[in-house]
Amino acid sequence: MDHQNPNSDANYLEVSNLIKWFGDDRAVDNVSFSIPKGHFLTLLGPSGCGKTTTLMSIAGLHSIDSGTIRVGDTIYTSPNQGIFLAPEKRDIGMVFQSYAIWPHMSVAQNVAYPLEIQKLPQDEIDDRVADVLALVGLTDMADKMATQLSGGQQQRASLARAIVGQPKLLLFDEPLSNLDLKLREQMRVELKRIQNDVGITSIYVTHDQAEALVMSDDIIVMSKGKIEQMGGPLEIYSTPVNRYVSNFIGVANLLEGKVAETGSDGSGQIEVDVPGDPIKIGCRFADNFSAGDEVVLSVRPENIHPLREKNGEDVLEGTITSATFLGNYVDCRVDWRGFEWKVISHPRMMLKEGESIYLKFDTSQILAVKP
């Protein structure tokens, strides 16, 4: 824990050693992270991975069993010190999965609520509600009852209510999961724009990796209550640390093997685990492996080039078992010694089922990760 300079904007939000038990399960198992002021962090993982529990702990809607949560120079929760700040005193805005727009109030009343709680003068409340409704594009809807709004509009109203008080922290609990695909893609961009405009440090929980990649400054991939990896979207995508992350983010070919040789520059040769003659594939290492370590090779389909002619020695020869036309690309499955490669090809190549094909790899884009 770094208590040297807690006020620094570099670790504005700090969660350290967070543990939460649900019965006999550790829903959150010793999770620690921190983010700078103004950043947009996404907690990403399948349901039951502890991401929502982490968010609820930050919000104060759950108690925690141990660990510390701090924002700026305020400790929110620290059971060891006997500190639990009530949720309403945390100065947090939150957008819920169900939007939680109060049906007995109009849109403007919903949005004005946090300001009324702060006991601001009425004319200031009116101004700020009008401003924030304009920001989310709901000016025309101000006097409508909340129940008259569409899903996307409720979403905007919910966001307006969360940001109107200019909180220290903005929390999102899978806010787009109830929207249809088109609207979801549109709202991703919109949410990110508004968050940029207001500049509030945000934590976003989702199981949708595309959402995470589009919106985040930082992503934390979680599984079974633990952090698997934290990093920027590009880093998470291009250098996943283990099999779980590379499988969860995007599509990857995962081939098991052992380290045969290690190079000095974080690269080496992996002997892959397939029937037939032993074969070594050169790759980058995601970690400090030594010879004999069990690893998994992770290769993204877009880093495999299917060729009709053999071009150089570093190619694998396989047979196309299926070729599915998907409009802008053709999704191919290529059988190579019993291993099925996922490969994408340009539609103009006109690859057909049953054809022989050579797969050429960009070795700098092959990654050996922990199993």
Binding site: L61, G82, I83, P87, E88, K89, M94, R161
Partner: protein, 586 residues
């Protein structure tokens, strides 16, 4: 932020840490939960403990001193009257359960699954007995079918030439009859909801296999709603066993005592013995608690499995010509349970002297003047006091019960700490105890405190016994409201209490008001708690009716009964207005 805390934990003195921990535990929420849980625990548990203790205290022959022992329990079996009273209670409960279940299931089926004409209009009338006082029903039926003076018997003698009598309700069977028809809506309510929401394709598929209407109903429809039928039957059994007014009016005067009439005489009668009364209450309470436990634990949870979410398809069975039979059956029920008794009460109440003969020339409102016009010197105090007291008790009681109901529902569904689980348990317990049993417990607990002989002890008894019904009303709505609506208010900076005031309660408003009216109705007609706990000056409406029936005459009794019935019917109308059609049956 004023609650910012010094950062380095190591630098904090231990006392500070303790204070922090203390503060963290004493949130508005926790304090309120624990306070309410404590109040409820005391209100519910104390009378039951007192009951248990009293049941082991044996009164000596002089009636002065007590010793510890099992003699009271022995007396239950050796007494001249009590074993028979016990048997009579079992007979009445079993009989009325059969009557109410057969009528209730048949009426529910007619209303929910058939094309019986006018069924939308019939339903509210089928439910009216649920809201009225069975005691008043017994009074009305006494005037309709007492062997000598019953109107129906007189008409039978005059017009049908029958010797003696056609019907006699002044018997055990009369008690079975009146409790049966008055508790029919209990079964109806348990069954009609699941029948209505049942997926009609379940019946359709039985029909396609060649099963006829009768066979489909018997082998598919009824088995599917069996948990509802069983729940309703158990509730009727337990309610009948705890019913005081009907056996008191119809069977006790003619030699058939029941446990409730015996408890009553041990509580206030000439041979008063609170300890023996407590022992009988224990015996009755153990049986009813056991049955309610079975119902809550094993039967109620199953009733959801027969219901599919969809299936609101208005697909009903075509009864053909039989639909007029169904219609006639339903109309007959309404006549017997609602129209005839009320008409009879009106007729009797208009005669200054009732000689079991309708005399239009004699009719006047003198009985209403005597029972209602409290400012007149000839008014009967027991009746006019009763009206005042019942309005006060019903108003304050319903409000108090609903406040408790809201807080308890909130605790059970929104907070997950120990107090919540305790409350969940505590709000089932009173349902298991008949009013007269709980009242006996309240009596022995508080008889030596200043609240005895005041309206407060009645209020305590009422609220303790009936708050669970209000709580259920609120809980069902709270379950339908997303918790996130509350949470988002907390995140917006509102405290727990502000959230309750500005978000939770406004969202619950329809349920709260419906629950309030229901409580008001229950308290307006309450008899079996009041009869144990009242004293001169704290009579209630039903106690007033009891007083008139016991010490005055039938016309006066009928007049006050009618006054109570009119108030209750007005409440029913209000209840339907605010709660909507599906409020009870959903």
């Amino acid at each position: 932020m004023q609650d910012a805390v010094a950062l380095n934990p190591a630098e904090q003195p231990p006392s500070n840490r303790l204070r922090n921990r203390f503060r963290a535990a004493f949130t508005q929420e926790n304090v309120a939960t624990m306070a309410v849980a404590l109040v409820i625990a005391v209100a519910v548990i104390l009378p039951l403990i007192a009951l248990v203790i009293s049941s082991f205290l044996v009164l000596d022959d002089q009636g002065w001193d007590t010793t510890w022992g099992f003699d009271n329990y022995v007396t239950l079996f050796t007494d001249r009257v009590i074993p028979k009273a016990f048997l009579n209670t079992l007979l009445i409960s079993s009989g009325s359960t059969v009557v109410a279940t057969v009528l209730g299931v048949a009426l529910a089926w007619i209303n929910a699954r058939t094309n019986c004409p006018g069924r939308d209009y019939l339903e509210p009338y089928n439910l009216i007995p649920f809201f009225l006082s069975p005691f008043v029903g017994a009074i009305a039926w006494h005037n309709l079918a007492a062997p000598q003076t019953g109107l129906l018997n007189i008409w039978a003698r005059d017009y049908l030439g029958i010797e003696g009598h056609l019907l006699n309700v002044d018997t055990l069977w009369g008690v079975v009859w009146v409790t049966g028809i008055f508790f029919t809506p209990l079964v109806y309510l348990f069954v009609v909801g699941s029948l209505r929401r049942m997926d009609p394709s379940l019946e359709d598929s039985a029909r396609t296999t060649g099963a006829g209407l009768f066979r489909t109903t018997m082998t598919v429809t009824l088995p599917l709603v069996m948990p509802g039928i069983l729940s309703g039957a158990i509730i009727v059994f337990v309610t009948s066993a705890g019913e005081f007014g009907v056996p008191f009016k119809l069977s006790a005067p003619y030699g058939w005592e029941t446990l409730t009439t015996q408890i009553f005489s041990k509580a206030v009668g000439d041979d008063a013995n609170h300890y023996l009364g407590a022992t009988m209450s224990m015996a009755l309470g153990v049986i009813t608690v056991f049955l309610i436990w079975i119902q809550q634990r094993y039967i109620a949870p199953r009733s959801f499995t027969t219901v599919t979410g969809k299936g609101f398809r208005p697909n009903v069975l075509d009864l053909g010509g039989w639909k007029w039979v169904a219609f006639g059956f339903n109309i007959s029920y309404i006549m017997i349970a609602v129209v005839l008794p009320i008409l009879c009460l009106i007729i009797v109440s208009l005669h200054p002297v009732w000689t079991a003969k309708i005399e239009f020339s004699q009719m006047s409102f003198i009985n209403y003047e005597k029972t209602l016009f409290f400012w007149q010197p000839n008014s009967i105090k027991a009746a006019t006091n009763g009206i005042f007291n019942s309005f006060i008790l019903a108003f304050i009681g319903a409000s108090l019960a609903m406040v408790l109901a809201i807080v308890i529902s909130y605790m059970i569904h929104r907070t997950k700490n120990f107090g919540a689980r305790l409350l969940d348990f505590l709000s089932v317990v009173p349902i298991g105890f008949p009013g007269i049993v709980l009242a006996m417990g309240v009596l022995v607990t508080y008889i030596q405190t200043p609240i005895y002989a005041t309206l407060w002890i009645l209020l305590l008894g009422y609220v303790t016994r009936f708050f669970p019904y209000g709580q259920r009303n609120v809980s069902s709505i709270m379950l339908a409201i997303s918790e996130e609506l509350d949470q988002s208010s907390r995140m917006a900076g509102a405290s727990w209490f502000t959230t309750l005031r500005r978000i939770t309660i406004p969202l619950l408003k329809p349920g709260i008001f419906a629950g309030w009216v229901l409580m008001f109705i229950i308290f307006m007609r309450e008899l079996s708690i009041s009869i144990i706990l009242y004293t001169t000056g704290t009579e209630t409406l039903s106690v007033g009716v009891y007083y008139l029936s016991n010490f005055e005459n039938e016309p006066l009794t009928a007049a006050l009964s009618m006054a109570q019935t009119v108030v209750l019917l007005a409440c029913v109308y209000l209840f339907r207005k605010v709660a909507g059609k599906e409020a009870l049956t959903a």
